[in-house]
């Protein structure tokens, strides 16, 4: 090989311990971000099917504005833009969780809306006809059924958000991608290190897919 490229498996192995710490942070940000996203998504998703026009508009505005702008821009806005307005630095980790949360929230809102709307009208009527209030009907009758229908789409969002955390490289959170970058800055072994990083992302997303598969089979979705 004229290029003088020599592939070293040992470099891959050597980078693993450090990358594992980055991977932990990636998982942490994803999980926390999705928790935030799930809460936002539920609130705004329900707003989108509210009887109040104002609520529907507000829910729609959130979803459209987040879905219509790149995540990278949202991250930069939260980390570099927002501090100027509020006169306070946003810690990178917080900015990361907030960005993933706000971003996934918009997509989850659509998932929540769709799942709620897919539950037959008769279920609401049956709930109301035994004297449950509107909220009780939502909580005891509709929500559990909707949640079950949401699982495949939520799993998909989990995988997307996990990969999206790699964009947080721009704010300097030491997640997996950033850690890879830092290792390369020291050893210049881009091929081996990026390959290892890719394998680690793939291992995580595959695991999520597998768990989801089992869950879906168990719940007979």
């Amino acid at each position: 090989m004229g290029s003088g490229f020599d592939f070293k498996v040992s470099v891959m192995w050597e980078s693993v311990p450090l990358l594992l710490t980055g991977m932990k942070l990636t998982i942490l940000i994803t999980v926390m971000g999705l928790l935030v996203g799930f809460i936002l998504g539920t609130v705004f998703g329900l707003m989108k099917i509210s009887r109040s026009l104002f609520m529907r508009k507000l829910g729609g505005f959130y979803v459209e504005s987040i879905r219509g702008t790149p995540l990278m821009v949202q991250v930069m806005f939260i980390y570099f833009g927002l501090p100027l307005a509020i006169g306070m630095r946003v810690p990178p980790m917080l900015a990361g969780v907030a960005a993933i949360g706000v971003n996934s929230g918009a997509y989850i809102a659509e998932i929540v809306r769709g799942a709620f709307q897919s539950i037959e009208r008769g279920q609401t009527e049956a709930g109301r006809s035994i004297g449950l209030t509107h909220l009780q009907t939502l909580y005891y009758v509709i929500w559990p059924q909707a949640l079950k229908r949401m699982i495949p789409a939520l799993g998909n969002q989990f995988i997307i958000s996990l990969k999206d955390t790699s964009l947080l490289v721009v704010v300097g959170v030491g997640e997996l991608t950033r850690t890879g970058q830092e290792i390369i800055a020291g050893n210049f072994r881009a091929f081996e290190v990026w390959l290892t990083v890719a394998i680690m992302y793939f291992a995580m997303t595959m695991s999520i897919a597998k768990v989801l598969n089992i869950l879906e089979r168990k719940l007979e979705i």
């Binding site: 037959e120 008769g122 279920q123 009527e125 049956a126 709930g127 109301r128 006809s129 035994i130 004297g131 449950l132 209030t133 009780q136 005891y140 009758v141 559990p144 059924q145 079950k148």
Partner: protein, 240 residues
């Protein structure tokens, strides 16, 4: 028990009910018949305010259902409803379906509610199905659970909206049997159905509706053997 005065119901431009007057006294079994689109289901759904009435009055057990001071959730526990499509909660067992109302609406404790639930499932002949999910029940069994679910609120009236129309013919009997039993026990019932046998056996009165008005009402014996109005005659001749 139920008093309906000059009831009108419009969906947009479509007038579905055009001045209905109807009184149902306590313990009475009333059967409503009529061609599809005649407004019978809508009439039933106005009684527990699943549909908002356009004008007129609906009084259930002394409470005006459209009065803002009336707690509609209370009315709905007084007037239980059974649907054509059963509408059982699929994520709950038969017993769970029956005990939801008592625990969340009546604030009964779990043990009491389950005792009541089992008693009612026993009453509809499904004692051994308490822990089964709706997916594993036949249509007839589902509808009987739905009846037990409504009875769990100890309603004063039961409204049945074509309770056997979605059932395979061989499953109709078991549901009607439970309904007949209820009628004999003195439950006030308003039943939208085309089951003439049921009407003949337990109804005190049959109401025939067409195009949003009550065309004719009489005892079942009289209306089936001697229908006065030609639209009633036409309908009955097709149903029999």
């Amino acid at each position: 028990m139920i008093e309906i005065r000059n009831l009108y119901k419009r969906f947009g431009d479509l007038e579905v009910l055009k001045g209905i007057d109807l009184n149902v006294s306590s313990g009475e079994v009333t059967v409503i018949m009529g061609p599809s689109g005649s407004g019978k289901s809508t009439l039933l759904r106005c009684i527990n305010r699943l549909e908002e009435i356009t004008s007129g009055a609906v009084i259930v057990d002394g409470y005006d259902v459209m009065d803002p001071a009336t707690n509609i959730n209370f009315i709905r526990t007084e007037a239980g409803m059974v649907f054509q499509q059963f509408n059982l909660f699929p994520h709950m067992t038969a017993l769970g379906n029956v005990t939801l109302g008592p625990t969340k609406v009546r604030k009964m404790n779990r043990a009491e509610a389950e005792a009541l639930g089992r008693e009612l499932l026993d009453k509809v002949g499904l004692r051994d199905k308490a822990d089964v999910y709706p997916d594993h029940l036949s249509g007839g069994q589902k509808q009987r659970v739905a009846i037990a679910r409504s009875l769990a609120l100890k309603p004063k009236v039961m409204l049945f909206d074509e309770p056997t129309s979605a059932l395979d013919p061989e499953l109709v009997g078991e549901v009607l049997e439970v309904m007949k039993q209820l009628g004999r026990e003195g439950m006030t019932m308003v039943v939208v159905t085309h089951e003439m046998g049921f009407a003949r056996e337990v109804a005190d009165r049959v109401i025939f509706m067409d195009e949003g008005v009550i065309i004719e009402e009489n005892t079942p014996a009289e209306i089936f053997s001697n229908p006065r109005h030609e639209r009633t005659q036409g309908f009955l001749s097709k149903v029999i």
